[in-house]
Amino acid sequence: MRANDDLFDIIVVGSGVVGSAMARRFTLEGARVLVIEKSSDTLDGASKANSAILHTGFDASPSGSQEQVCIAEGYAEYLQIRARLNLPLLECGALLLAWNQQEADRLEQILRDAHRNGVSSARLISRKQVLDREPQIGAAVVAAIEVPGEFVVDPWSAPYAYLLQAIENGARLERSCELLGGSFDGDSWRLETGKGQFRGRQVINCAGLFGDHIDQLLIGQSSFEIRPRKGQFVVFDKSAASLTRSILLPVPTETTKGIVVCPTIFGNLLVGPTAEEQPSRERADTDSGALAELIKRGRAILPALEYHGVTATYAGIRPATEHKDYQIKWEHQQNYCCVGGIRSTGLSAALGIAAQVFREFSAAGARHQPVEDPLWPQVPGIAETVQRGWQQADNGGIVCHCELVTRREIENALQGRIAPGSLAELKRRTRVTMGRCQGFYCSAELSELTNGFFEQALGEKF
């Protein structure tokens, strides 16, 4: 095993959205940060599949929970920094729809919670107001709460931008670097990984679906057990996006926020997720029955969906636990922090979680000099809300026709700072093959363009 004598201030385990935000925060505050990721790509776990909503936290309960506080702070920071990182925002707002009197009766309480959570712009609206605003919504709707601050973001460019800013300001990322064990000598950690030994003063566990395993591995115990919860989604064709300008939420139940219909930042319409407990932390199968059920649910909410095709289906796994709230736990004696159980709201809360963790860390006495005049890398604009590559000169021509992804965008991603190690990651960076034809036209071109870049090539030469 290769010895590595560098001593990092912080070692972040995991490069999902939480680990990426964590690396960014600590780097900007002046710490020397190492991020280790067991997969060959970042965002390969829970962060790769979600509904891409930037939540206000209006429905987080109870008020003052770790989740609610982190969402509120994360939401505010995203809005504050997004333009400097070139991160998009679809300011669509949400309607929480009641479909019967029983559900309508619960709206008052939900509204009170929203106001208690600081989301003062939330308000009750009548059936007529709902239909005036969104005429395609099913006629059975009874009433709604309007939450103007619920927005849609790009779920992949955001964490990429956080990690990129960390790296450009001095952090280091090691991928294909699985954590195998570690020990704390009273002053610093020595971590054994698939890429050798790394030393760091503080370890922050952002391992998502494996958070409890990393706890067990490093400190011998965990305050929670990951209970993987699968969510399946159906993505409708771009033509369906004209059916609603708003995120359409159901009245939540005790266990789930329920099935959402929402526009995506890429100009599609999303229906999902399901909420299915399962043992596997890695297998995210789709299931034709569940997908058909989602489509049925989508059509009940927006009847005209019947005339629009399905572009893609996918499933993701959320790291739920036996607890309702996030599990952010400190072992100050061992310079260890676990950020666990960050379930479906992680994308909204990540920046807030990182800020909270940093505050607690510095309260414990650690001192760093914040980076003066940090670099602000601009991530490529791949959302429909910004100018796209195809609209610019010298773009090399379009390769993926459904999503209008150009040759130049693909080349830049492949040669970029955190170069994709697989087609899956290249998709997240550029949208390539994610459109309605799912690679009918561009697969061949891509197999040539990516030749030599990926461990698993797209076809062998014959």
């Binding site: 297998r283 789709t286 005339y307 195809w390 610019q392 773009n395 379009i398 697969s443 061949a444 040539e448």
Partner: protein, 420 residues
């Protein structure tokens, strides 16, 4: 951005678009611009490295690429302006378009626009197939372009889903690349393409599993196995390293859906009249966009015929679109028909020889079956045909235009006898 202008812009340089461009030049239209998003013209045949192509057009047996080269050469020789690696991203009223070129965004204005964007196969996602999402799952089109254009082999032992004509094209493509399919699967009780096609898997020693359907896909990085359910409900696991989803063609109408042009929900293509005119009379459409899916030769002849209408229209020779009769149907057996509307001229003589050149109604059915197909004008049967329809086979019904002159309503129905 420099504004370009032309007389006729054709979107899509496949057989329909090329044929239309060639004929327009032969008819003396000065500026014919043929816009193609790929780096070479030719369309699907260019990706299809096997025979038979060209019988109708050149009276000889050609491979897809050779056929495409001939058509393209003919277009170039006749002075058709080819605009390659150029994608039309937006259509607006009056023939105004936005293009994406390697040099960036560009507007284009044409007097008349012909849309020939063709069709595409339904991928795994839209079929809602269960399982994981590893590498090695693709449509025939993707496989063909990988094999014939890039000499790459994405798998060695795939399962082919479907028995349409294109499914056998997938078989031939596999053979060319040294790929040995482990099975060909279809949920129907017989081969969807012509019956003799069933010989091909036998010759290539690929098991043909009818009455069977794919239940789920398994594999982490690459496909490792699929589960197939047979007619008795028994599920078996087939180890394989890929899945080819072939056929289930749908109209490539993504340009039309967000535009001002009206869409026909049955065919998925634009609403057209007997001249191939869309709801905005400056736009025309032809080829597989209107009727997924027909052969290259059929699309070629349609492109040639459409050119005559477009040429006439440039000189004011088509009846105005103010009086349009929509054809209606209540039949659930009819998957789609085209044209969906008839433009009725001021005088019966104005139907003229032009309109009589129309091939009539083209239809497809949801399932195989037999019955009597009838077109009624104000409850009077004006055209009828006994037919034995296979699900994916094109059916034609004549359009006796002169009889439609003063009618108020047109309807189409199929009286089924027995389901086969």
């Amino acid at each position: 951005m420099q504004q370009q202008a032309c007389q006729v812009a054709i979107i899509g340089a496949g057989p329909a678009g090329l044929a239309c461009a060639i004929r327009l030049r032969q008819l003396g239209v000065e500026e014919v611009l043929l816009i193609e998003r790929e780096a070479a013209a030719g369309g699907v045949p260019r990706h299809c490295g096997h025979s038979p192509f060209g019988m109708r057009e050149f009276h000889r047996l050609l491979s897809g690429p050779a056929y495409a080269r001939r058509l393209v050469q003919q277009a170039i020789d006749l002075g058709v302006r080819l605009l390659l690696t150029t994608t039309v991203v937006k259509l607006a009223e009056g023939g105004r378009m936005i293009l994406s070129t390697p040099a960036g965004e560009q507007p284009l204005q044409a007097e008349k626009v012909v849309i020939c964007t063709g069709n595409r196969e339904t991928p795994r996602s839209a079929r809602l197939v269960s399982g994981t999402r590893p590498m090695g799952i693709m449509t025939t089109g993707a496989l063909q372009s990988m094999v014939y254009l890039k000499q790459r082999r994405p798998f060695r032992h795939p399962v082919i889903v479907g028995t349409e004509l294109v499914s056998f094209s997938a078989l031939l493509t596999c053979r060319h690349a040294g790929i040995k399919p482990v099975a060909m699967v279809d949920s129907s009780s017989r081969v969807t393409a012509f019956p003799l096609a069933a010989m091909l898997p036998r010759v290539l020693r690929v098991p043909l599993l009818l009455n069977s359907s794919i239940k789920s896909i398994d594999g982490r990085q690459q496909v490792e196995a699929v589960e197939i359910e047979d007619h008795s409900g028994q599920v078996s696991t087939f180890p394989c390293d890929g899945v080819i989803f072939s056929g289930h063609f749908v109209a490539e109408s993504s340009l039309i859906r967000p535009s001002h042009l009206l869409l026909d929900r049955r065919s998925g293509g634009p609403l057209v009249d007997q001249f191939g005119r869309c709801s905005d009379p400056d736009y025309f459409a032809c080829g597989n966009l209107l009727h997924p899916v027909d052969t290259a030769g059929w699309c070629w002849s349609e492109g040639r015929r459409l050119a005559v209408f477009v040429h006439a229209d440039l000189h004011g020779g088509l009846p105005v679109t103010e009086h349009l009769l929509e054809i209606d149907t209540a039949s659930a057996d009819i998957r789609y028909f085209t044209p969906q509307r008839i433009a009725i001229p001021q005088r019966v003589s104005d139907f003229g020889p032009l309109a009589e050149a129309s091939p009539g109604l083209q239809l497809r059915f949801n399932d195989a079956g037999r019955g009597e197909l009838k077109l009624r004008a104000d409850d009077v049967v004006v055209a009828s045909r006994h037919l034995r329809a296979r699900a994916e086979t094109r059916q034609l019904l004549q359009l006796p235009l002169a009889k439609l002159f003063q009618c108020q309503a047109l309807s189409l129905d199929l009286t089924r006898r027995t389901a086969e």
